[in-house]
Subunit: 295 residues, 2 copies
């Protein structure tokens, strides 16, 4: 796509971390004429070269500062545990009027920390595109990754309205349904509907490993599993590094949520111990109704 | 299929409970020439008439005793909590040399109880075809339901070898892979790979309901759920009556298994409280490896 400089929303975008999400965003920005130039920042040269070949970025650098100095949109697409050191490194190089955003799965305090670390004339808008991540790496990047997905933007009382509108516009161009949410509420919501189910699945795999150790004879317990267990634990096969970071960043909510889950498991156990058939039927019926109400 | 009387494995089969499983077994027995005549027993006349139309049974009765008196194979396909009253009702009508079997998801003590309630010259062989049950009712019955599925038979020290071979033969004709297992081991194995995951999914839905009640603003928590939660809780939308019965019948194993699961959830919570990044990465990596090892 070509156009005069003034047709672009952004003249130069810097994407820090060109993996599945960063690369897919680059493709959106380029293919849909949102950005004139996209610069990729990363550690592995081979990955950045692939990103250029795929059209996700125009060129690349290993050091972010120079690219950032000439950019009007900077997107953090590295793991959330790197945010602090990233912003320490190049935060003060963000030019006046530029917008900084991210694509991380955790928000909360991180958003306020980044806001505080940027120059007062730069703008931060947190964003979390809820897009499939079973495969990682720029090789799987596609400009349709965000089509029909939800993207949560997390403005704070300090967020600049024009910057927020521009970031919303990027994700609408990407085909996403954009929803706005307080950063702390975001982490509570995602903790419940995404992080807790992951922990439930991780822990179920571990419990089954323990039960295998208690199984008589040379019987391979998991060999008898079917589609039910496979579905229930599909998300247990997620990236350990990414989920370590999410769990650490959202640990305060997650500790409470695990406790709530344990309360419900104890309640179910009590029904079993009481041989309470009516109670069991009622509680399973409730679960069924809740499950059938999912979008 | 037609043939002389001597070509059939069984002259008259009585199926008690003509739903998805009983009906599908009837279709297998008729279509694949295993039984000359199949009699259906049930409470609802309309259901039995449908079963005749579908070819799952030849004719039907509401009272089992008469049909059973002339049968050489009797299959219990009613919920497991009815086994006791069923066998009280017609157990002494089972003719000499006849085989009684079932299709229930729980075995354990039930198998020994049925054995004890039958005349000494009749044979019991427990069977559990592990077949999909998302839709119920004879209307969804099909002779291919058991194709490629596993069927666990649960002989005891009292099981007659010829009767066991005949029951295995029925399920092999149905296209299933037949595995033999002690009735108590069966309940332990199924408790782990099927019942515990169901309880995990039921309780997760309940915990999310509790978290919804703690959510600020008029925010619909479950409205933000995606494919992860949907997969993890798919089995929560199972039949409450069936799962009440399974949970009650296998409650001693399940109480231990829920405890083991809770131990693992506590351990995960401890890693969060300790902010133990290396421990979290290690434990998630383990879960991923276990999940990827599922058949």
């Amino acid at each position: 796509m070509t156009g005069s400089t003034s047709d672009y929303v952004f003249q130069q975008v810097t994407i820090i971390g060109v993996g599945l999400l960063g690369g897919s965003l680059g493709l959106v920005l380029k293919e849909r004429g949102v950005a004139k130039t996209v610069v990729g920042i990363g550690r592995r040269r081979s990955n950045l070269e692939l990103a250029v070949q795929l059209g996700a970025i125009d060129h690349f650098a290993s050091e972010p500062k120079d690219a950032i100095r000439d950019s009007d949109f900077i997107v953090l697409a590295t793991p959330v545990d790197t945010y602090d050191s990233q912003v320490q490194d190049w935060g003060q190089s963000v030019p006046s009027g530029a917008i900084v955003s991210d694509v991380g799965s955790v928000k909360g305090q991180l958003v306020f920390d980044i806001e505080a670390a940027l120059p007062s004339n730069a703008y931060f808008v947190g964003a979390h595109p809820i897009a499939g991540k079973e495969k990682s790496g720029v090789a799987h990047a596609t400009s349709t990754l965000f089509d029909g997905a939800r993207c949560i933007v997390t403005p704070t009382p300090h967020t600049n309205a024009k910057a927020l509108a521009k970031v919303r516009g990027v994700w609408e161009k990407a085909g996403s349904e954009v929803v706005s949410m307080d950063p702390m509420v975001h982490d509570w919501v995602l903790g419940a509907v995404s992080h807790l189910p992951h922990i439930a699945a991780f822990s179920l795999m571990h419990a089954l490993q323990d039960l295998q150790a208690q199984t008589p004879e040379a019987l391979n317990l998991l060999g008898f599993s079917g589609g039910g267990l496979r579905d229930t634990t599909r998300i247990a096969a997620s990236s350990p590094e990414m989920w370590r970071d999410i769990c650490l960043a959202n640990r305060e909510n997650l500790v409470k949520m695990i406790d709530q889950y344990i309360i419900r498991l104890h309640a179910f156990k009590q029904l079993l111990n009481d041989q309470d058939g009516a109670g069991l039927a009622h509680t399973i019926e409730q679960a069924k109704t809740l499950r059938e109400g999912l979008p």
